[in-house]
């Protein structure tokens, strides 16, 4: 068809439309809508607020949705492709995403990098190439940022274990340091990082000097008989981590060049029920899920996903959330929860919101001041939940 023919058809069609429009005009009379021409524009965010949470939408989606617990509204998405880890800049200026992608989708050259997004316009600032990273889902502590925001630490397993140190201020990869037999990282200011190990110890990797060095605590747990969940919680105000084992033992470690690890106590006994056991055929309350617990740092309240089951049911969804007061070592509240959640987080607001999700991608937001459900968010996601000021 020639251009003249196309033009002729266009005019014929336009004339017909106008004629029809005129014939229909009487039926469509009255209110005159605005006919001001519009321009496409783009929404912007503020830096992250304490009332926000970020939920990875799951294994088959490529983003983390940002919600405000005050309004229940979806504000936008950070791009987090499959098996990536999201970390927040403590100053709130950037979102960091530790990623792996191949040049030709499922094949081609593997690329590992940390993407830097501006937190207001969500535009990519840069990608920082790194040598590699472990591909695993559901972990909070495989990509952590130092509290001063200067360094990022990316866990790698190839299958030898190591940590990739990234200078986030200079936006460049610094070095890779071996960390044999250990995983799950926490930044230790002025020292380097600490990590849980297969010999039941907490290793501390010194990165401050020219040479890195690893020291290990005395073994304090069994990595195969009663493992500590990778997803421990961090309290920066006390410079502590709070750890939870499969049977429900709670440990704390005060971080430093020589970490100090507390004697454990039983979460179940703190609630007045028998302590959890690794023995078979015993039905009891056990902690479980993927992101099993959440710490409200300002009040020292730990929220744990609990279910009735046997040992080795550590991935099961919860029927209750237990609120443990860490100072008095008492479970002060037990809440029945819907949706068999496997992920839980708590916003760090003065009046916090509990956020939890099960496999069906429904996210529940509870107002902890009232103990009532504030929002039920459909199709929100079932991956890791991140909140501001949690690292």
């Amino acid at each position: 068809m020639t251009f003249a023919a196309i033009k002729g058809r266009f005019f014929a069609s336009a004339t017909l439309t106008l004629a029809l429009g005129g014939a229909m005009a009487p039926a469509m009379a009255a209110p005159v809508a605005s006919v001001e021409p519009e321009q496409s524009d783009v929404a912007q965010l503020t830096p992250p607020k304490a009332s926000w949470f970020f939920i990875n939408r799951g294994f088959t989606e490529n983003s983390s949705a940002i919600y405000d617990t005050t309004t229940g509204k979806l504000l936008g998405h950070v791009e987090t492709p499959q098996l990536t880890d999201l970390a927040l800049d403590p100053a709130g200026k950037f979102y960091y995403v530790s990623s792996t992608l191949w040049t030709k989708a499922s094949r081609g050259t593997r690329q590992d990098y940390v993407s830097v997004f501006d937190s207001v316009d969500l535009k990519l600032q840069t990608d920082i190439p790194i040598p590699g990273r472990l591909l695993v889902g559901g972990r909070l502590n495989n990509f952590v940022v130092s509290p001063d925001g200067k360094f990022g630490y990316v866990y790698n397993m190839s299958p030898a274990s190591s940590v990739n140190v990234v200078d986030l201020a200079a936006r460049k990869f610094v070095k890779s340091v071996e960390l044999p037999g250990c995983a799950s990282l926490v930044s230790v200011p002025g020292v380097g990082i600490s990590a849980l190990c297969s010999d039941g110890s907490l290793a501390t990797l010194s990165l401050a000097g020219a040479k890195s060095a690893i020291t290990r605590s005395e073994p304090f747990f069994s990595a195969t008989d009663d493992p500590i969940f990778d997803n421990f919680q961090v309290d920066r105000t006390k410079n502590q981590i709070v750890m939870l084992s499969y049977t429900g033992k709670i440990y704390t470690a005060t971080l430093g060049a020589k970490p100090v690890i507390s004697a454990p106590f039983s979460l179940q006994e703190a609630a007045g029920v028998p302590a959890g056991s690794s023995a078979p055929n015993l039905v009891n309350w056990y902690p479980g899920g993927v992101q099993q617990m959440a710490l409200h740092v300002p009040t020292g309240q730990l929220y744990v996903l609990m279910h009735m089951g046997e040992f080795w049911s550590h991935k099961a969804g919860a029927s209750e959330v237990w609120q443990l007061d860490l100072a008095t070592r008492k479970v002060v509240k037990r809440m029945a929860v819907p949706g068999e959640p496997r992920m839980i987080a708590v916003t760090q607001e003065a009046t916090p919101h509990l956020v939890f999700a099960g496999e069906d991608e429904t996210v529940y937001v509870y107002d902890l001041a009232t103990g009532k459900q504030a929002w039920k968010l459909d199709q929100a996601g079932n991956g890791v939940i991140t909140v501001a000021q949690s690292q």
Partner: protein
Amino acid sequence: MIHFDADSLGEKVLRRFAGGTSRRGILARLGTALVAAPLFPVLPVSRANAAPAKPDRGPEAKTGFARGAQVTDNTKCDYWRYCAIDGALCTCCGGGVHTCPPGAEPSPVSWVGTCVNPEDGKSYLIAYRDCCGKSYCNKCNCDNADRETQIYVPQLNNDIIWCFGTQSMEYHCSTAVLVGAA
């Protein structure tokens, strides 16, 4: 307390693997990633766990999964070999219980489980080898966790993408290869 012997379990899997493959051919094909893989038994991961006691696998020690397991349908999550599987079943994706679907590549290394066969009540060592190099099959997804640990004991963790030593680390589905008596 039952002590789970991760060391001997890992050793068994790797010995079977070493016995059934041409070392030179594998090295040529897979390069450094696979060279690193057999290091597992000498890493502190395993050495730290040298176990004095033999694990109790008697009927009284059966897990909830083992008590409800079946032997007839390997496209279901409660098939006995799947006691510690996590991911899409290759039996639902064009493959089989030890067979990768067309175009996928089996990982030479894996995480392992010890599962009880209800037919004879005995425990068997299962290598959960991922099939790699194709996009996620996303059918018949299971997540069983008998004796499954965290990633600081990687050979017993089922969340890790076990596609080390394959041409692409893209995860497609998981198989449950019978290695032998536990």
